[in-house]
């Protein structure tokens, strides 16, 4: 896989991570300077910069050193020296696929969705959003991360508020304020973390790696700090009692907004929990795991049940996100290699399948100007290809073996079984519920005889098909052959868990082997497993 694996040397000469953040930003500014009379040029500029970003992210994937657990392509510069804030970017197995997902999703969202009015600012905001999301996934400096994490709100606010549906202003404001409350705590947490660590590090620095490696927090302190971070991420995920902004924001956002929101923005929360919560404060994370496991399982069930009750197709998908992200949190706080790797995979897979679902729902809305399930009927008869595409995406979201949704969920459940047995037992019900609400929705929308309003439903167009094709390709590929993905994710997860084990004594590995120099062993073992799985899936699919 590593044909271009001479990567690191090249990366030093070309700061690819910095470019990943700056190219969309420059694109956004360039978009603003194009003339309003030639909208196609504006769109070309926007598309070009997002495609370049996507291409760079793929290049990053190709030249990523498989098996190397540390941060790669690191770009580290002084920034605000007097406060110890640096421009520190890096990518490891945990963030790699989220970066690639971001890179791939944005061009598709730009091509696949039409804002209908004010295209120029719309594209500029989308590109700014891309820069912010990229930066969040790549930052290895606490303040830098906060900066990107927070700045993402602004474009999203305007995307929902200006190009959304009827309740857009309410939804946008709610989204903005909810997230900002979380960030308020996180900022205080970040500052305090760095200041408390400075005694042990001999100087104030906000560098994630330096703090994590060099500083040890007293248990009680670490717990406070952990919760300051966790609130921000819990809002973003969103974790159970803090999830109420999500259905509103998703439903009211324009299609591209929903795709991006579900695809990558929510992942900032789960990613943040892994990268900042668990990595910085392993003791506190282990200490509070039961709380998070419980909230995750409540979220799984709550999201699923609420989704079942929805009459609005988009809201249904939105609630399904709450459930799916519950699985990711469940996996994260199970603290086994399989569970966290599964969680990371699920982040990507959920981004792909839910992103595609939102695209499809958006297409239905474009044609019928309604999202009410009751008003849609018998679409399969008039648009069979559309229905087939919807079917594949939906099955992936349900987690049918052979498609990508299965791999992540299955790994999470199986990996969590040893350390969080009863939560898994209850959480698994969510898998069944997912089949219930999605199949039921499919049945109501696509089966039966189309009535008059639905009989003129247009078949999938070429452009729409071209946008959906990469999604479906990814759905099938990751479902049948997840090994290359797992190979890159697992080493970083292992290192993270070793750290957790070392700091807390929590038994993270399922088997009987104690930690120490068993890396080689466990490596082989898990690779074997993933082989088996993919084989199984091939058989089933």
């Amino acid at each position: 896989m590593s044909l271009l694996a001479s990567g690191t040397g090249e990366a030093l000469s070309f700061p690819i991570l910095t470019a990943l953040v700056l190219v969309p930003l420059i694109g956004a500014i360039a978009t603003l300077f194009t003339t309003a009379r030639r909208p196609e040029i504006t769109k070309m500029v926007a598309l070009f910069s997002s495609v370049v970003t996507g291409g760079m992210s793929l290049w990053l994937l190709a030249s990523f050193e498989t098996g190397d657990a540390g941060f790669q392509f690191v770009s580290k510069h002084e920034w605000i020296q007097s406060w110890g804030i640096g421009w520190h970017l890096g990518v490891d197995g945990i963030s790699l696929f989220l970066v690639v997902l971001t890179g791939v999703l944005f061009p598709l969202a730009i091509v696949g969705c039409d804002p209908h009015h004010d295209e120029k600012p719309y594209l500029a905001w989308i590109l700014m959003l891309e820069a912010g999301v990229m930066g969040s996934f790549l930052s290895l400096d606490l303040v830098l991360f906060f900066l990107f994490f927070e700045i993402v709100l602004v474009p999203m606010y305007f995307l929902i508020g200006r190009w959304g549906y009827d309740q857009r202003v309410y939804a946008a404001t709610k989204f903005f304020l909810y997230t900002m409350v979380g960030s308020a705590f996180m900022l205080v947490g970040i500052v305090t973390t760095a200041l408390l660590a400075s005694d042990q590090l001999g100087g104030v620095t906000f560098d994630l790696v330096e703090i994590a490696e060099g500083a040890n927090f007293a248990a009680s302190t670490g717990r406070w700090l952990f919760f300051a971070f966790a609130i921000a991420f819990a809002v973003k995920v969103p974790l159970f009692p803090l999830h109420t902004w999500l259905p509103d924001a998703h439903t009211q956002a324009p299609t591209a907004g929903s795709v991006i929101l579900a695809g990558v923005l929510l992942k900032l929360g789960t990613y943040g929990l892994v990268r900042f919560g668990v990595y910085l404060f392993p003791e506190a994370a282990v200490w509070s795991r039961e709380l998070f496991l419980t909230l995750a399982v409540i979220g799984i069930l709550w999201g699923a049940i609420a989704a079942t009750m929805q009459t609005d197709l988009k809201r249904l998908v939105a609630y399904s996100s709450v459930a799916h992200l519950g699985f990711i949190v469940l996996g994260t706080f199970a603290f086994t290699t399989e569970a966290i790797s599964g969680g990371v995979m699920q982040m990507v897979n959920h981004g792909v399948s839910t992103g595609a679902l939102f695209l499809l729902v958006g297409m239905i809305y474009e044609r019928r100007h309604t999202r009410a399930i009751a008003e849609l009927k018998g679409l399969q008869k008039v648009a069979p290809i559309f229905a087939a595409a919807f079917m594949v995406v939906m099955l992936s979201s349900i987690g049918v073996p052979g498609l990508n949704g299965f791999v992540g969920e299955f790994l999470v459940l199986i990996g969590s079984f040893s350390t969080a047995r009863w939560w898994v037992v209850i959480g698994t019900v969510g898998v069944i519920l997912a089949a219930l609400y999605l199949l039921w929705a499919y049945q109501r929308v696509f089966h039966g005889e189309p009535d008059e309003a639905n009989s003129s439903f247009r078949e999938l167009r070429l452009r729409e098909g071209a946008v959906l094709l990469p999604f479906i390709g990814l759905i099938v590929f990751c479902g049948l052959y997840p090994k290359p993905m797992l190979d890159r994710i697992e080493p970083s997860v292992k290192v993270l868990l070793e750290r957790v084990e070392e700091r807390t004594g929590f038994q993270t590995s399922t088997g009987d082997h104690s930690h120490g120099d068993m890396h080689g062993d466990s490596d082989d073992e898990s690779h074997g497993e993933s082989h088996d799985e993919s084989d199984n899936e091939k058989g089933e699919g």
Partner: protein, 499 residues
Amino acid sequence: MPPIDYPAIDWLAVSPMIVVLVGALVLLVVGSLTRMWPRSLYALVTVAVVVPAVILEMVLWNRVGHEGPVSIVDDALSIDRLTLFAWIGITVAVGLVALSTSEYLRREELDGPETYAMYLAAAIGAMVMASANDFVVMFLGLETLSIALYVLAASHRRRAESQESGLKYFVLGGFASAFFLYGIALLYGSTGTTNLSGMGEFLRGQVFLDGDDAMLLAGLALLLVGLGFKIAAVPFHFWTPDVYQGAPTPTTSFMASIGKFAAFAAMLRVLLVALPTRADDWRPVVWVMAIASVVIGSILAVAQTDVKRMLAYSSISHAGFILIGVEAAGHSGDTAGLPSALLYLMLYSVLVVGTFTVISLVSRTGDGRTDLASFRGLSKERPALALAMTVFLFAQAGMPVTSGFIAKFGVIKAAADNQSYAVAIVAMVASVIAAVLYLRIMISMWLSDAETGDETREKVAVPFTSAIVILAAVIFTIVAGVFPGWLIDASRDALAVVR
């Protein structure tokens, strides 16, 4: 009769004030003797006065760096980097406000030299206040600033609100000055000196037994009332919304930037030079004022429908943030509080001038249209103006990549440095509440549909001079948000004050 012993004067050190003073006199005298000057000339002359003042301040900044801080004119004024930091902020803000006033006065048919002369006179007061090392001198500065501001607030002759604003400010400001003065008297009574450094020295060598310090504490309390009024901190904030709303918009921006800068610089000097030994007494008071200001300012701001009132309350909440820095500075051995407060002041001043300049344009002829509805559709009518306002509002909300984030970050860091985590969290949560008000303005600008009657409204004009001010403020807001290192270092240099 013995000859009077005149103090030696370090002319270079007072030269910025002299430049501003000469400018004020020239504008006043020549302006009143000549016919109306050509368009914008008054403002340009004001800027021409301010520029050399800023240059001289830079020279002094450099000199203080080499030779250390000095106290001049018989210890009446301190020339240290705290002073110069405030001076630079004040003079730059005066220049910006003057430029933004130019077309405003034309539009309101109030053009004339007196407003600019008042600006410069107020600036001298502010500069004296920021540099005073003697309570009597500080009081002189305070009064010079205040009297000019009373007049400025009432200077829109045809608007009743402006008259009301001036009168309210005058009556309440008079009270506050009285408190301040009485505080000085009591402090003098208990220490035997009005000199700040002298008082600090005296108190360091003084041991108070039970209740001996009642007079000192009473003086301190009264002083805090007077200063709290000037910085508009809760519970001395009641004048702010009315005065801010009624005063001509450029004057409001003058009060919110220069007025705050001077008062906070004076407050820092009083508390850190004269009364550092009593920090345990004043810190809790400042703590309460800070918390109350951020919380009450933010909450009440959200409840307003008039943008000027909103920003008045938000300025109260910003004052609370700065007070957090002041509180932090009161901890022994602290090195983060004073710089963070100064940095906040510098960044906020530019921000607030930019914001109010936009408002002065949107308020349209008559300066009355400052309700939320007048911002409706601004993004369609004047997209660039709406974008600039958006930058200012996000900066005030503390969004990253703007100066507002750096300002808040510095203060929060200073608080956390002294284990004041509760303050930090309360302030950050309050800033989320305040974000509602900034969002409301943005909703009005960007997300509200036009309503009937909107098309017959007067169009928002963006004159050149105001555009320059807005552009400069936007650039500063973003540049200081992305590359704040130089400002942080400069504010840190201000730690070496004359003691």
